[in-house]
Amino acid sequence: MTRFSARFAMANGVQVRTAMALILAAGSMWSTSAYAAGTNAGTTISNTATASYTDLAGAPQTVDSNTVDIKVDELINAVVDATDPGDVVTMPGTTGQVLTYTITNTGNGNETFSLTANSSVGGDNYDPTGTQIYIDNPTSGTPGVYDPGVDILYTPGTNDPTLAPDASATIFVVTNTPSGVTDGDKGIVQLNIASTTGTGTPGTSFAGQGDGGTDAVIGTTGGDAQDSGTFIVQNASLAFAKSASVLDPFGGSETVPGAIITYSLVATISGTGTLTGVTLGDSIPANTTYQTGSLTLQSAGLTDAADADAGTFSGSAISVNLGDVAGGNTRTVTFKVRVN
């Protein structure tokens, strides 16, 4: 590890000596701002006062006090935030479903953290499977966005991220959604981080384990932190109903030669998701003749040719391309045949 030391001299004999370790960005994006996490561990706080006065002879005199040196120990604190703006939408049987977290070293020393993802925390409807943790690649891909094949697979004990004071890293938990889940189900994944120096009740001290040979002291967060992200399953299903009404040449409803049969195909899409590429089709029954130009969608006429509109009559069957249909919608297609 590369190290450097900085030395600042101030008026009146006060000096600050800090030893900072430069962290190689093995993990992710780092950002720092001075002092938000407190004075860096290893800093020496020195205090010297000065008195000036005039003696009996009228001569100005100056005297310095003794210097008190106090070293700043390392305080271990950390925060995890699930940063997705809301529940992350998933669908049954999908892979590579991503939750995003930010981990921040809110302590005052360089600290290494181990990561664990727990998908069976309870309070949800299903457990996401195949959980893997990725660290945002700081030099490649889009910062803060999961880039498959670019971001770095986390292996405990091998590439535990080390964060400078105030630094953050983006962590992705990538999971699969079981095929058996249903619309509206929620799956929670908790990301835990723990200081590799140690965890415990606030105030617990690890002698000599802090930056610059200081003691490491567990801060208010206990040296570990966690937050949960949530998947929500959005799925849609289609119910299909077909009905027929008959108008015979005599004004009745007997299925006799010359009678016109109007078929209604009703697709009801339910659920919170969207069905994509929905097509309604039906073959023309034997011993009947399709009535040219009788095809409708939502009561609007469609041409029989395979052209810009959604409807097609192929000679033996009709077909209407409904495209993407969100849950809560109904699509009705009608066409007419004449009984031979």
Binding site: F8, M10, A11, N12, V14, V16, Y35, A37, G38, T39, T43, I45, S46, N47, T48, A49, T50, A51, S52, Y53, T54, D55, L56, A57, A59, Q61, V63, D64, S65, N66, T67, V68, I70, K71, V72, D73, E74, L75, N108, T214, D215, V217, G219
Partner: protein, 151 residues
């Protein structure tokens, strides 16, 4: 040798005059910790070797005229360490500009990054000082205190 003594006495005279009004200044730093035990809150002051961010520090300056004659115009100045945020002090003047100008914290102004002035906060204080009125007789002493928080 006898003849030399008066000369020696003369030679040390300026030094002796200087030593006639020596002042001793002692700096002590304590950390104030509050513990709740058995439902009672106990505040302790200890002289620490180490602190952590957020610790409350009490600085005590003890001055004493250890000479045989009075000193006048006594001014005790203490720069704030950059890692210590000033909290309060009794009867002290503060400076927010590195000791160039002095006054009360209420009157102090700090120039912002945008260039306008805003009222100073305690943690803007860079130096504090006490100006003691009158003279400090031989043997007289006193304590000055201020508080700060480890940033």
């Amino acid at each position: 040798m006898r003849a030399l003594l008066p000369i020696l006495a003369l030679a040390v005279a300026p030094g002796a005059a200087q030593a006639a009004t020596p002042l001793a200044l002692q700096s002590d730093v304590f950390v104030e910790r509050t513990e709740v035990a058995d439902g009672r809150t106990r505040t302790t002051l200890t002289a620490p070797d180490t602190v952590t961010p957020g610790d409350r520090l009490v600085f005590v300056l003890h001055y004493r005229n250890t000479g045989s004659s009075a000193a006048s115009g006594l001014v005790v100045t203490n720069p704030m360490h950059p890692s210590v945020a000033y909290q309060d002090a009794d009867g002290a003047q503060v400076s927010v500009d590195g000791g160039k100008s002095w006054g009360t914290l209420a009157a102090a102004r700090v120039r912002t990054a945008r260039g306008d002035l805003r009222p100073a906060r305690p943690d803007d204080v860079t130096h504090i000082r006490w100006k003691l009125a009158g003279t400090l007789p031989a043997g007289a002493s006193g304590n000055l205190r201020f508080r700060g928080t480890v940033r």
